[in-house]
């Protein structure tokens, strides 16, 4: 056997595990999922082909699906606020600050901590009568709402908690991006008479735009599939006000055993996510600058 051939065999052996994993845990499940989404399937009896029924039911006869879609988009409000805050923190940390490690740790701690623990903690903080948040608001004479048991306030509470726990990760990314902005660009802008704000808008924002795009895309994909926080904090309530698509999907699949219907829902969400991602890439040509 030639040397080249031998190398091919080594290479294929080396990559065999991830490729096999790709086939077993991605390719085959995806194909099966497409099929199941066109059937009635409880997981116990054989799937029964029903054509596009699941999709028709989803889009035309299930008002709850549309409500959960709205809720999901509402919950994604945490993204713009979280991004602006994490950029502000990164900018502050980038000023040659003493104690940068300490500050970084403070912001990063929730990111590495268990979602279950962080959610339980905030469930206690949001407690209407004895929770820290309402005690704090009480100092200013404000009677706080019953956060998690209020239809109007449950989602804002989830958004608040989402921002708090996600700050650290994006902050680290932004900090690295800021440190990569060439000094010479700032100096050139200064010679041209640009003030602090102008330098921020004309130099900093364009230079870190690839990072902004990355954070935006990964945050949307993450937020629209977020499940554990909702499961622990609100269980979708009160009155479905925090039932997101993934929560509803989970209920259909594992509580009502409507695997076919839930698969159709997964595909609607998957298509939505892919569309948003592509749209983001397409729009990014207008505002993202690569060197």
């Amino acid at each position: 056997m030639s040397n080249k051939r031998k190398m091919y065999i080594w290479a294929y052996a080396f990559i065999s595990a991830p490729i096999l994993g790709f086939l077993l845990f991605a390719m085959i499940p995806i194909c099966f999922s497409v099929y199941v989404s066109f059937t009635k399937y409880s997981g116990y009896h054989a799937p029964e082909l029903t054509g596009a029924d699941n999709y028709v039911r989803l889009l035309a006869h299930d008002p709850l699906f549309w409500k959960t879609l709205k809720n999901t988009i509402y919950s994604a409000l945490s993204i713009p606020f979280g991004m602006m805050l994490s950029l502000a923190i990164a900018i502050a940390l980038n000023q040659k600050i003493v104690g940068i490690r300490l500050f970084r740790t403070a912001f990063f701690l929730p990111t590495i901590s268990s979602v279950v623990a962080m959610t339980l903690l905030w469930k206690w903080i949001f407690n209407a009568d004895y929770g820290l948040l309402n005690i704090f608001l009480g100092w200013f004479g404000i009677t706080g709402p019953a956060w998690l048991s209020s239809e109007a306030w449950a989602m804002p509470a989830m958004i608040l908690q989402g921002i708090w726990s996600g700050l650290g990760f994006n902050m680290v990314l932004y900090l690295a991006a800021l440190q990569g902005v060439p000094r010479s660009l700032y100096e050139a802008a200064e010679i041209d008479g640009a003030g602090g704000w102008q330098r921020f808008v004309k130099v900093t924002i364009p230079c870190i735009s690839p990072t902004t795009l990355y954070i935006l895309i990964t945050s949307i994909i993450g937020a629209m599939q977020d499940f554990p926080r909702f499961q622990i904090m609100t269980e979708g309530g009160p009155n479905y006000s925090t039932t997101t698509i993934v929560y509803y999907l989970f209920q259909n699949a594992f509580r009502y055993m409507e695997m076919g219907y839930a698969s159709a829902m997964a595909w609607m969400l998957g298509i939505l996510l892919m569309t948003i991602t592509l749209l983001n890439f397409w729009l990014s040509r207008r505002w993202v600058h690569y060197e």
Binding site: G21, V36, R104, L120
Partner: protein, 288 residues
């Protein structure tokens, strides 16, 4: 411009810089307090007696410090048992997954072979697929082969490697100069020996970063165990912790003690390996 004018300008500039720094400190200190106070509240609650949790106004330092909350949570409430289960699941999965990812990344970075790029792009495409799409069919698969209510669904897929780790490590391997390998090849080492003896030792920092991420992901995973594990004796740490809600309703000191214990291992990992964390996060982010 005269010297005096320059002097005035630079002192003005310095004053501006000082104000900017002062604002930055104020902002960071305020932010850190907002980040830290919930954790202190968690600690304070975890040390209170049952009734003291509902005292108004709350005392930050409880009158009676109830350390026994912790021993109760660890022992009778099974948190330690869950922790052991988690370690049994996560450690082998992370180690084997890291190895399979690394060796594949090495092939993609260093060996020329037919369809290399196609296979690599195919693998990367898995990162784009939303997890919810594969959740139901994989559940059906494991149910069919009788793996539900066992640890296998939480372990086996990870052992085949992860696309993100392959991508990250491939980037890293491409930066290693090839002279070392050429020399080893001359000495008659085969590619597997080269990988083990030369590449792996050089890749320690990158492997550490990926290993930490893998461990953290497995340790904090809630969705996987929630779907697959039913028997309480097989519960992972996160499942045991989540079950406190139903079991000790309103007993917030137990729930908070459990939560604190759950984050000690990851916090320790972070303190001792902060460098790898920051590098890992940044490098993963830079691919965007």
């Amino acid at each position: 411009m005269s010297d005096v004018a320059i002097g005035v300008r630079s002192s003005k500039k310095r004053a501006g810089e000082q104000i900017r720094k002062a604002v930055a400190y104020l902002f960071l200190i305020a932010g850190s307090v907002i980040m830290a106070v919930p954790f202190l509240w968690m600690l304070s609650t975890s040390l209170k007696e049952e009734g003291a949790v509902f005292e108004l106004p709350p005392k930050w330092i409880p009158e009676v410090i109830e350390w026994s909350n912790y021993s109760f949570v660890l022992g009778e409430a099974n948190l330690l048992h869950g922790f052991m289960n988690t370690l049994i699941i996560v450690i082998p999965t992370t180690c084997i997954g890291l190895f399979t990812s690394a060796i594949a990344a090495y092939a993609f970075a260093r060996i020329q072979f037919p369809a290399r790029n196609t296979l690599f792009v195919m693998l990367l495409a898995t990162m784009m697929i939303p997890g919810v799409v594969t959740m139901i069919p994989t559940f059906i698969l494991y149910k069919t082969i009788g793996w539900v209510d066992s640890w296998l669904p939480l372990m086996v897929p990870g052992m085949f490697g992860a696309a993100a780790a392959v991508f990250f490590l491939r980037q890293f391997f491409m930066t290693i100069p090839s002279e070392l390998e050429d020399a080893a090849m001359m000495d008659g080492l085969n590619p597997f020996q080269i990988f083990i003896k030369i590449i792996l030792p050089l890749a320690k920092p990158a492997l550490m970063a990926q290993g930490i991420f893998g461990f953290l992901g497995g340790y904090n995973d809630f969705l996987g165990p929630l779907i697959y594990i039913n028997s309480p004796e097989k519960f992972t740490l996160q499942l045991v912790l989540a079950s406190f809600q139903g079991m000790y309703t309103a007993n917030w000191s137990y729930i908070m003690a459990g939560s604190i214990l759950a984050l000690i291992p990851t916090a320790l990992l972070f303190f001792f390996a902060q460098r790898y964390f920051v590098e890992g996060v940044t490098l993963t982010g830079m691919k965007g």
